[in-house]
Structures are given as C-alpha cells and as structure tokens.
C-alpha cells in the first residue's frame, strides 16, 4: 500500500499536479535517507521561459547562490541563460561545466582578490561595485573590465531585505562611475536590488526612478551608460499566492520604456524565482511532544540543515503523510539540540505518526545552499526529477 498524503486546496495553489505526481512517484519508488530535496526540472524550465519574457532586450543570469547544485547549474545552462556568481567556489562549479565566460557576471559588490584574479583569468568581464576600494581592486586584478555601480534602494516589503549591506546614494554612485573610468575600467551601468522575495511592486518603481537620475547624472559627466541590471527579487508562492512575474515585468518594462533610451540592455538575476518553487524538501517526523499546552513536532530538517530562512520570516507550506487524523496546532522544530532550531509556530496540520513524511513546498532556493551539518545532521541532497 502506497503512502497517502493529505493534499488540500492550498497545496494545489502552490504545486502543480504533475510536479506532485512526479515527487510522490519518486518517493514510492525509493526513499534514500531523508531529508532530501526534490527539484522538478519541468517547473524550472517553465520559470526560466517566463522570466525576462516581458522585458525588452533583457538577459537572464541565474543567481547561483540560490542553489549551486552542479546538476541544477547544468540544467540551467542548457536553457541558454547565464549565471551570476560571487566567489571562487561558484566559479569552480561553472568552470567544471565548461560555461563560457561571456555567460557569467558577478554582482557581489565586494569581491575577494583571489576571486577577481580567477574570474579575470577565466575571462569574466562584468562586475558590480560600490566603493573606491573595489574600483582599485578590480582595476588591479581584472583590468579593463565592464563595471556597474550598485545603488541603494528601499527594500520595504521584501521578506529578505538586502540594501543595508550594499549600495550607495546617487552622488557617491556618480563619483564611483567617474572613478572607474579614471582607473581605465569601463563603467557601463547601474544595478540595484529591491530585496529578495519582494512583494511590493513599487520597490521597482522607486529603484528605476533612482537609476534614471543616476543615468542622467552620469551623462552630464560625459559617461554614456548602456546597462541596467535590475537584480533579482521576484517572489514565489510559499503559503499564499503572490504577485505574478508577468505583472512585475510588465510594470518594469513600461517604466524602462518611458525613461531610458531604446537600446538599453537589461540584466535580470533571478535565483529564488527559478529554483524555489521547483523544490520539495522531503523530511521525516522524528518526534512529538506536549510541552505545557503546546504540541511540538520534530522533523529531520531544521534551521541548520536547510530551513535557515525561517529565521528571517519565510514560512513554508507542508504536505503531511496522513492517516486522516484531525488537524492540530503545532510548533515545528528541527532535529538539532539548539533552541534556535524552531521552524514554525502555530501551524495547523493533521497529526502524523513518527516516521511519516512531511513534504515542505517551495523549498528549492536558499535551503541546502545555506545548510550546515551542525550537530551531525546531514544536508539534504538535491535530486532532479
């Protein structure tokens, strides 16, 4: 008798029937040690074909940090898009796959010298920056590169804000563009990041307005820019529907057409929106406990070995292997001995038996790439289905 799962309308909104069928069929056939991460390649393909579709003259670069699995990177490269990377480690993955340097950019504003040397040696030509020190480093270790300056923009409404660590204001940005030129680099444009899992479409409006001001300031300084890199930030569905990519992109495209020259080139750096909702973490219930009036559920994946983003407020949806028991409110925790290892509170799920599986939806991005083996609990392997 096959395992049976409790699937409701919410799940149907988050995961397509074929994806669920493929995942369950995989589980029926073989269970390697849980936890593991199933990645539906069809879903990735569908997302890749969607992203950039509504933005004129755009190129897409997969932000490898979202999930740097070699098989995923290989699959992505076959869909004819590029990669955005930040480190030697990520470059090694791409070089092992023979990815052409023209397909690689780095939008990490602060890069290590070793990475710059390796990237320049490999032939990577496109880098972001937001400081004079970075200009000097790039000029020295990757001379004559194309560079784009990172503007700071508001990140309100994104679940994983990024702007405080990186980005500069307009005056500094234009000075940095001039300085890059002075150092014999080729300042080609501007970038920003509205924050990951951005639910607020107006962040792009504000960011694009700001980029336009910089664009004109640069022109007055005698620099003709050609690239607008809009970073990532496209949201995916975790527990409810979110604004769709074509709506976000139509808005972005309209703004760009209004404000920028016709031959402008647009780069997009999606990570989460390519691999996130293609992923299903498969975990096992390892324990249950009643503590005062709270019911606790312990599973073999937690904050440290995959669900780190729970700490930042990402909430997942779960499909429980079921025995048709009644719904209960749970506090869900990971397997480690650390008291930080709590994934979610006040979630309503049917009560599973110990040993039952719990599928965690939309978990393909920023899960295994963040994971550690803290306390000896294994990092889920990616399995492409």
């Amino acid at each position: 008798m096959l395992r049976s799962f409790n699937i409701d309308k919410l799940h149907a909104k988050l995961i397509s029937k074929p994806t669920l069928f493929k995942a369950l069929s995989y589980i029926d056939k073989q269970i390697i040690q849980t936890p593991f991460l199933l990645i539906d390649t069809e879903k990735m393909k569908e997302k890749i074909s969607l992203i950039g579709e509504n933005i004129r003259n755009s190129k897409v670069f997969y932000a490898l940090k979202a999930n740097p699995d070699v098989a995923i990177a290989d699959f992505v490269s076959k869909q004819n898009i590029g990669f955005e990377i930040a480190s030697e480690g990520e470059l090694k993955i791409l070089s092992s796959l023979g990815i052409k340097p023209a397909k690689i950019i780095s939008s990490n504003p602060v890069k290590s010298i070793k990475f710059l040397e390796m990237a320049a040696d490999y032939g990577v030509k496109c880098f972001s920056y937001d400081s004079t020190d970075e200009v000097e480093k790039i000029a020295k270790y990757a001379p004559r590169s194309n560079v784009y300056v990172r503007l700071s923009v508001p990140n309100e409404g994104s679940e994983w804000p990024l702007s405080k660590k990186f980005g500069v204001e307009l005056d500094d940005a234009v000075r940095l563009l001039s300085y890059a030129k002075q150092k014999a680099l080729n300042p080609i444009g501007v970038t920003f990041h509205v924050g990951s899992q951005c639910q607020n479409p107006y962040n792009w409006n504000i960011a694009i307005d700001k980029a336009k001001i910089l664009w004109d300031m640069a022109e007055r300084e005698g620099m003709k820019l050609s690239l607008l890199n809009i970073g990532g930030g496209y949201p995916i569905n975790y527990t409810k529907g979110t604004i769709s990519i074509d709506i976000i992109e139509s808005n972005i495209n309209k703004l760009i057409l209004e404000k920028f020259p016709e031959d402008i080139e647009i780069y997009i750096e999606p990570g989460r929106s390519i691999v996130g909702d293609a992923g299903i973490l498969v975990s096992t219930v390892i324990g249950k406990a009643k503590r005062y009036d709270e019911d606790w559920l312990y599973i073999d994946v937690g904050i440290f070995n995959g669900l780190m983003e729970s700490l930042g407020g990402i909430r997942y949806s779960y499909i429980v292997e079921n025995n048709k028991s009644k719904n209960k409110r749970w506090t869900m925790a990971g397997p480690s001995c650390d008291s930080f290892d709590v994934i979610d509170r006040n979630i309503t799920l049917p009560e599973p038996d110990i040993g039952c599986l719990i599928l965690i939806l939309s978990s393909g991005a920023y899960t295994v790439s963040y994971a550690s083996e803290f306390n000896g609990f294994s990092i889920p392997k990616n399995i492409l289905i």
């Binding site: 008798m1 096959l2 049976s4 799962f5 699937i7 409701d8 309308k9 799940h11 149907a12 397509s16 029937k17 074929p18 669920l20 069928f21 493929k22 369950l24 069929s25 029926d28 056939k29 048709k324």
Partner: protein, 278 residues
C-alpha cells in the same frame, strides 16, 4: 437541505450535490466510501471525497473507456481491468462476444461489495464465470501476469492518490510486456480543462513505453473539468481505426463517435505544445 461538497483540490470549481439520503458511509482499508442519493443523478459513489460515478451518467464514462480499444482491437479475448471495482467496465467488456477471460484487479474489495449492494446495474456481470477477481495492486498483477493479454483497461481513482502507481513509466513498461503483439492499453487521464498538465504528463510517460500513443475525450457532467480525457498506448495498431463491426448495444458509444472522439491532430499538437493558453 444536506449538500455534499466534492474535495478535489485541483478543481477550481467546487462541485456540490444535493443529498436526498446518505445510503452508506464507511471506511475501507484504502479509503472513505460514501454512497448518497441525489434527486437528479440517482445514487452516487464517492471515494475519498471525490465522485466516482452516478447512476444517471456513468454510461458515458464506462462505454467510452471500454469500447474504443475493444473496437480498435481485431480480436480482444483476454482482458485485464485494473480498478473498476464498481463493475461498470466489466459489464461493457462482456458485451463483446470475442471475450474469453476478464481479470478484474481491484485493490479495495469493499468497492466491489458496496457496488453489488447499491449499484446492481453496474456490478451485474462481476460474478460472470469469465471474470476472475483479484484483490491486489494492479501494478503487481501486471508484473506477474503471463504476456497473453489483448486489452488492458485502467479505471482508477485520482492520479495523485494511491492509484499513482498505475501512471508511472515502470507500470507502462510492464503493461507493454503483458500485452500481445497487437495489444492495447487505455487509462483515464483526467480533464483537458482543469488538468491539462496531467494529461500532457501521462501522454509523455506513455510515449516512453508505447510506439503509438493517442488521446480521445468525452464530456462528463460529473467529473471536475468535464472535458474528460482517455489516454491510449498501442503496440502496433492505430486506435483511431475500427477493426470490428459495431454490433453491441450502447447508449452513447458507436462507430461514428469512435472516430470523432479522438482529438483532431492540430488540436492535439497545440495541447501537447502547451499552446492552448487560457
């Protein structure tokens, strides 16, 4: 008034039925079984919250699932019906004089019992001497059966429930092996309106195992999405062709319907290429 709300998470329309009477409510080893009486549809069989058949319109489904392959096959003698514990497909199969043996392979014996009790017009033929009932997983049965079968018919519950083993590549390969040279296989494959992605998926998996794969449909009032698809895998013969005279008694199926039921080639391509966007 009591109402029954169908629980099909992948249906964007929630179907509800007026309940005149609850005739049976129980739990088998596999699923929840419910039989209700509705003023329009008569008795309705519901498994795990999803309508499987109604007395009034079941013939559209059972005739179309059965007779297309039975007429495309030149001489169907040995038949396997997987699922179909209600007996509807067996009843239709036995209308064909060529048939010598029917293996009815049902996982849930309770469905057969309930059908005998509440749906005698469907289950009328399950005790026929030509019928051998096997209570087991259809995928296991097909792996073991000697390769002598002419037609295999899958009449199962939802593809993401426990019937999912009947839609895998492995299963289709064992079906292929169990069939004779000119054998044919047919399975229901959900709605072209609401589950088009699943229809495409089933077609794709079938194509891994079978040289000839096709799709036909019938409108069914009581299945979510209504435009219901059936997927065929054939070893050699084109299932669009009729190879035996149409001589049986039916209410909906006939030789003309057989030809019309298949998707026009252009529409088929469009669907498979995901170009029918709405």
């Amino acid at each position: 008034m009591i109402r029954f709300f169908e629980k099909e998470p992948y249906s964007p329309i929630e179907y509800t039925y007026e309940v005149e009477k609850v005739l049976y409510k129980g739990k088998s080893q596999c699923q929840e079984i419910l039989v209700i009486e509705n003023p329009y549809f008569g008795k309705i069989l519901i498994l795990d919250g999803i309508v499987q058949l109604t007395e009034r319109d079941e013939f559209f489904y059972h005739e179309m699932l059965t007779h297309v392959v039975m007429h495309a096959h030149p001489d169907p003698k040995r038949i396997v019906v997987i699922g179909g514990g209600d007996g509807g497909v067996v009843r239709e199969v036995l209308k064909h004089g060529t048939v010598e043996k029917v293996y009815l392979v049902e996982l849930d014996e309770e469905v057969i019992n309930i059908s005998k009790r509440f749906f005698p017009t469907l289950s009328s033929k399950v005790d026929d001497p030509k019928v051998e009932i096997n209570i087991m997983d259809g995928a296991d049965f097909i792996k073991k059966v000697s390769p002598s079968i002419d037609v295999i018919i899958v009449d199962s519950t939802d593809i993401i429930g426990f019937a999912r083993s009947l839609f895998t590549e492995d299963f289709f390969y064992s079906v292929m092996k169990a069939l004779k040279q000119d054998g044919m296989f047919v399975t229901h494959s959900e709605s072209l309106h609401f589950h088009l992605d699943i229809v495409i998926e089933v077609q794709k998996i079938l194509k891994k195992a079978f040289p000839l794969v096709d799709l036909y449909s019938v409108p069914i009032a009581t299945y979510p999405g209504n435009w219901w698809a059936f997927s065929i895998g054939s070893k050699k013969l084109n299932p669009r062709d009729i190879r035996r005279p149409f001589e049986i008694k039916t209410r909906y199926y006939d030789d003309e319907i057989h030809r019309q039921a298949f998707l026009p080639h252009k529409l088929y391509r469009k669907l498979m290429d995901k170009k029918l966007i709405w």
